[in-house]
C-alpha cells in the first residue's frame, strides 16, 4: 500500500497531471483575479493577501500552492530515482543537467515562499531635504531632478540620496538604491506645482534564491541543449 503510494507520488504521470492542474488553476485565477484584487495582492506579501482575501477570490491560489507543493515533492522524488539508477552510456554532465533544471525550479518556488512571508513594500511621497526612516537607519533625499523632452513628456528622472552611513547614491528608473536590506525605488518625479517624488521601499528576501535558481536552471538548460546538439552531429 505504502509502496504503491510512493510509486504514484514519484511517477511521471502524476507529475504531468500536477503540471496540467496548476496550469488550469492559474488560467482560471487570471480571470478570477480582477485588476483591483491584483493591485491589492501586489501591494502586500502573498501570505498576508491569502489570509485576508475571501476564499471565493483566493481559492485557486490556495489550490495552486497545494499542487505546486506536491509537484515539488514529485520533482525531488523523480530526480532522486533517476540519479540512483545506473548511469548507462550517458555522461555524468548530461545525467545531472535535467536535475539542475529541476533544482533551479525548486529554488525559484522556494524563493516565492520566502518572499511571500518576509516581503515588504511601502510607497512614500518625498521632497528635497526630506528624511525617510528605515528600520535600522535613515535616508536623506538631497535632490530631485527630472528631464522633460520637447513633446512635454518626462524623459528621465532621478533622486540623489544619502544614507545614515554617509553612502551617497543616485536613484533613477531601473537603478534603485539599497540600504540596510531595503531597496529604494523612484517611481515618478513631478516638477510642478512643487518638486515631489514618489518612492517605494521594498524588501524582497527571496530575490537571491530566485537568482540562484534561475542560474542553476540556465546552466542545466544550456547543457541539455548543447549535449543534444553534440549527440546529433
Amino acid at each position: 500500500m505504502l509502496r504503491k503510494f510512493y510509486d504514484t507520488l514519484a511517477s511521471l504521470n502524476f507529475g504531468l497531471r500536477l503540471m496540467a492542474g496548476v496550469t488550469l488553476l492559474l488560467a482560471i485565477g487570471s480571470f478570477v483575479l480582477g485588476p483591483e484584487e491584483s493591485a491589492r495582492l501586489n501591494s502586500m506579501p502573498l501570505l498576508v493577501w491569502l489570509i485576508k482575501a475571501p476564499l471565493v477570490v483566493g481559492w485557486w491560489l490556495w489550490l495552486s500552492i497545494a499542487l505546486l507543493a506536491l509537484l515539488g515533492l514529485n520533482t525531488v522524488l523523480c530526480s532522486m530515482q533517476s540519479l540512483c539508477r545506473k548511469g548507462g552510456r550517458a555522461g555524468l554532465l548530461l545525467r545531472l543537467a535535467p536535475h539542475a533544471m529541476h533544482a533551479g525550479f525548486l529554488l525559484i518556488a522556494l524563493a516565492h515562499l520566502v518572499s511571500s512571508v518576509g516581503g515588504f513594500k511601502e510607497g512614500v511621497e518625498v521632497g528635497e531635504g526630506m528624511v525617510i526612516d528605515l528600520t535600522q537607519g535613515r535616508v536623506l533625499i538631497e535632490r530631485l531632478d527630472a528631464q522633460v523632452g520637447i513633446q512635454g513628456y518626462v524623459t528621465d528622472f532621478s533622486a540623489t540620496v544619502m544614507d545614515s552611513h554617509g553612502r551617497r547614491g543616485i536613484i533613477r528608473p531601473n537603478e534603485p538604491f539599497f540600504s540596510q536590506g531595503l531597496g529604494l525605488y523612484l517611481k515618478q518625479v513631478e516638477l510642478y506645482p512643487k518638486k515631489l517624488g514618489i518612492m517605494e521601499i521594498h524588501r524582497e528576501p527571496g530575490a537571491g534564491l530566485a537568482l540562484a535558481g534561475a542560474l542553476l536552471f540556465i546552466v542545466g538548460n544550456v547543457v541539455v541543449v548543447a549535449r543534444k546538439k553534440e549527440k546529433e552531429s
Binding site: 521594498h202 530575490a207 538548460n221
Partner: protein
C-alpha cells in the same frame, strides 16, 4: 508570420512618443527579444505538429522537439531577464498580473509538453496536438491578455 503581423500593424495609426525611462535597459530588450524568438519557435513547432497530424512522418516530431526545446530555452531566459528587470525596476521579480500568470501558464505548459515526450512513442499524436494547444496559449499570452485584460505590460 512576421509578414502577416507586419501587415496588421499598418491598420494602426503611427504613434510617436519617447520611450518611458523604465524601458531603457538591456534587461527589457533581452526580455522582449527572447520572448519573440520563443513565440516564433513555438509557432514553427505547431506547424510541424500539424504536418505530422496530416500524415507526413514521425521524423517531423523529432525536429519539432528540437525546435520547441530551443523555444522553451529562449522563453525561460526571457522570463529570467524579465524577473531581473522587474527587480531593478519595481523592486520585485514577480507581479501578480494576468500577463505574468499567462507567462507562467505558457512556461508550465511547455514544461509539461517536454515531459510528455518522456512517455515514448505511445503519445505521438498527443505530443503533436500539444504543440498546437501550446501555440494557442502563446497567442493568447501575447495578444489575448493585452487585449482582454489589464496588465503591467501595457505601457
Amino acid at each position: 508570420m512576421a509578414g502577416l503581423f507586419g501587415l496588421l500593424a499598418l491598420l494602426f495609426p503611427a504613434f510617436a512618443m519617447p520611450l518611458p525611462p523604465i524601458l531603457r535597459t538591456y534587461w527589457f530588450e533581452g526580455h522582449v527579444l527572447l520572448a519573440f524568438f520563443a513565440y516564433a519557435l513555438f509557432g514553427i513547432g505547431a506547424i510541424l505538429g500539424t504536418l505530422f497530424l496530416l500524415g507526413r512522418g514521425r521524423t517531423l516530431l523529432d525536429f519539432q522537439y528540437r525546435v520547441i526545446l530551443m523555444g522553451y530555452s529562449f522563453f525561460s531566459l526571457s522570463m529570467i531577464s524579465g524577473g531581473i528587470w522587474g527587480y531593478y525596476a519595481w523592486g520585485t521579480y514577480w507581479l501578480w498580473t494576468p500577463k505574468e500568470l499567462w507567462t507562467s501558464i505558457l512556461w508550465l505548459f511547455y514544461s509539461l509538453w517536454l515531459h510528455l515526450r518522456l512517455k515514448g512513442g505511445q503519445g505521438d499524436r498527443m505530443v503533436a496536438w500539444g504543440a498546437l494547444i501550446g501555440f494557442a496559449i502563446t497567442l493568447f499570452t501575447y495578444l489575448g491578455v493585452s487585449i482582454l485584460m489589464k496588465s503591467s505590460h501595457s505601457f
